[in-house]
Subunit: 517 residues, 2 copies
Amino acid sequence: MYLTNALLRSVQQSPDKLATLFRGRRRTFAELQQRVARLAAGLRAHGMGANDRVGMLALNSDRYLEYALATWWGGGVVNPVNIRWSAPEIVYSLDDSDTRILLVDDHFLKLVPEILCTARHKPLLIHVGDGDAPDGMLSFEGLIAGHAPIADAARGGADLAAIMYTGGTTGFPKGVMQTHLNIWASCVQRLAELPPTPGAVLHAAPLFHVAGLGRALVQFLAGLPHVIIPGFDAGEVIRTIEEYGVSETLLVPTMIQAVLEHPDFRPSRLRSLRRLVYGASPISAAVLDRLIEALPELELSHSYGMTEACPSISSNPPVNHGPEARESGLYRSVGRGGLGMLVRVVDGEGNEVPRGTVGEIIARGANMMAGYWNKPEETAQALRDGWLYTGDGGYMDDNGYLFIVDRVKDMIVSGGENVYSAEVENVLGRHPAVSASAVIGVPDERWGEAVHAVVVLRPGVQASEVELREHCRQFIAGYKCPKSVEFREALPLSGAGKILKRDLRAPYWEGRTRAVN
Amino acid sequence: MYLTNALLRSVQQSPDKLATLFRGRRRTFAELQQRVARLAAGLRAHGMGANDRVGMLALNSDRYLEYALATWWGGGVVNPVNIRWSAPEIVYSLDDSDTRILLVDDHFLKLVPEILCTARHKPLLIHVGDGDAPDGMLSFEGLIAGHAPIADAARGGADLAAIMYTGGTTGFPKGVMQTHLNIWASCVQRLAELPPTPGAVLHAAPLFHVAGLGRALVQFLAGLPHVIIPGFDAGEVIRTIEEYGVSETLLVPTMIQAVLEHPDFRPSRLRSLRRLVYGASPISAAVLDRLIEALPELELSHSYGMTEACPSISSNPPVNHGPEARESGLYRSVGRGGLGMLVRVVDGEGNEVPRGTVGEIIARGANMMAGYWNKPEETAQALRDGWLYTGDGGYMDDNGYLFIVDRVKDMIVSGGENVYSAEVENVLGRHPAVSASAVIGVPDERWGEAVHAVVVLRPGVQASEVELREHCRQFIAGYKCPKSVEFREALPLSGAGKILKRDLRAPYWEGRTRAVN
């Protein structure tokens, strides 16, 4: 009941207040609740039972939020599909989580034939859009129009709320099980730490992602309005903030840079913006300086988290983005363990290391996931004695500030997206010419890191860089495919036969810190 | 783990920051954590097992907070004893909850012989004080000095944290079971709704009470300092706020009035106070006016709750205490359902009534109690379909503001304490001269309501008002005993034979609203 309580509370207190605004379409909280209760009825009528997974493959819109709320209202579990994924990846996640209802918007209709052709259970398809539904699909608006509202299923506590897929070190995505309590705790802790700005939040970052959806739910809990655009576009971000007086938004540093560099950018157009939360990677000193110069009153907050933490672990508050923090380097910290949580840096045996020493970051709190869907071994590895092992390497200073210096799990962060080397290496390995490969992150001005592959070919066989990239593109999302490929005779190996990625990375990173959050 | 996480987090981030201050004695968070981990070891060494109840009968002090934290740290459950209770009431609660360890301060040593003499299991006694422990008692400081710190038992979620006794309609107090999640949710929701003031909170209201202890835990979660005085004394409140720059405190309206009327009161002495939270009853217009005139910058917030809600249900924020709200009467509301919760006003069948119609207030949320200790019937009555039935009658306006107009459970609020008529009537009934009685609340300038008894004597037997009051004093706390007694030939009865208390109350309340929150 925790998440739907918030909607009912908003209707009780402010039924006529703006809830969502998408490209000029406004819904009040009373309208939203009616649509959610009707859509839930439609989902139930078409087979959604308690705990059943419902996927959505769509760009951001007001309907994305309606989908999530209606699924919970009706007792189901959301599975928001990564919009950057290829059809095989999507099918993998639908099959893995046994998702039998899938909502798809116009933008992704092109993927439907392949999904229907390869999914183990053909999902029931619901078309999310304004026009008529294509043949063989139900209509989102039709379900709302055609069903009377039902009562809230009042789910909460340990009930499963979401399965969110995240890249896996084993080469396959893992479904992170988030309970209602996990998500609710994360939202309320965040509000307790960083009181909401009074106006609307702009959702420009993708809502399928834990950061975007999590931020939306924080806003619901606080009973404040949402302004939504289909996806990040610097020009639309600027226009939307100006037009609707948006007071807060969440962007990754590459998006912030794009806004600052956009020809339409003028500080006065972002006058209403009180707070900018960023995550996925630290902000560069150059971008920070430009931002502060342009918008000196803007509060900046750096949020560190992951899908498994539903999502927040720590945040570096606005006060640590001023000239002093810029000087001391404190602005590069991901902040201190969040309210209600406890964070530690530990060695390989799980013992806390002295301050300033690099180790693995672990965290506990009510917001840590329930585990990975159908993956008991990976769950046991990630959750030990009530602690979430993040796989991120870092150290803590004397005041409890965390600095992330490396990822224990061999992961690349490119433009705010996590890319697991193992997954890319698996795909490269399927090419008949590839004997071995090692995928690493190399510095990239625009994306922070770029995916780089070092490949050893089978004797007597040839393959070009272009050919290998096209091969990868068939199986995995574009952002995971190598931006560059380097051919070698052999990979450097440790005594134990492990590939020495550190040696491969070294020449690229000489003289710079690996730019991870 | 939720509650002890907060202490560990404060030590990690600000070990040398002031945690508690009691009559000049200062403890940092690092010191507090050491004392808590050592006291927990001492309690364990003397038999406290997982889930065992540990009572404390004491005035407020820094040690009160150490007791609660150490009990949780060691895996136990707190049973904070009502300091206004008589020995038989205390023994009832110790027996009922099977509390076998009891901490007692110097002020309450006088009750020890009777407790030892009548309790079913003689509790292990721990003396809370600076001097040597009396014979037969362990020493609080001795336990701390004599034991090495142990690791946190990391309790949380559905683990039982507290059994807090509250008056019962059946004439016996009921032990409210509060889980770690209940208490944690209440704290974090409160912080999300009302961000903490940056300075110290003053605990003047009793810490055995859910409001006082709850406020202390909110402060722990936020990692901010506590200033504690033994109990409410208007002069000491004024001196302490001035001396330590206290920024927030919690008082009931009768205490606020006492502060304003104290000869030492001058607005400048309370300059540091940013927020005053009050509860238990609404503030009178006269007190509100004096307060606003004296301290125009002070934020006033009215908190409504009960032990069963651990404790908050709603709060009326500072914005509703200004001239407009004074004019509209909105300042008399107990506010809107709290963040994360849902509140409704329902009829006898549990159906929501229209706005403006009086019904019973019900609430749901993560902070609602787990039930009454060993009282399945009362639990089933209070918790239905996930809703807490408060027993308070009220109505909701069009904006969701709650106004309490009566109590469904026949209860009197006198000086911020709840008195259940049934309990007083039970005690009166034990007097040989009493044939029947009805206990009601009548208006009282100082206490809001006073306990008034209407008594029918047995034929041919006499008893004076003084005699009946002295009889009651043997069994129940002074604040529950009738302040006045009226003798009648018979009580007015309904057709069904129920005493018509409304008729008894009517002449006292003519022309005024019953001053309940």
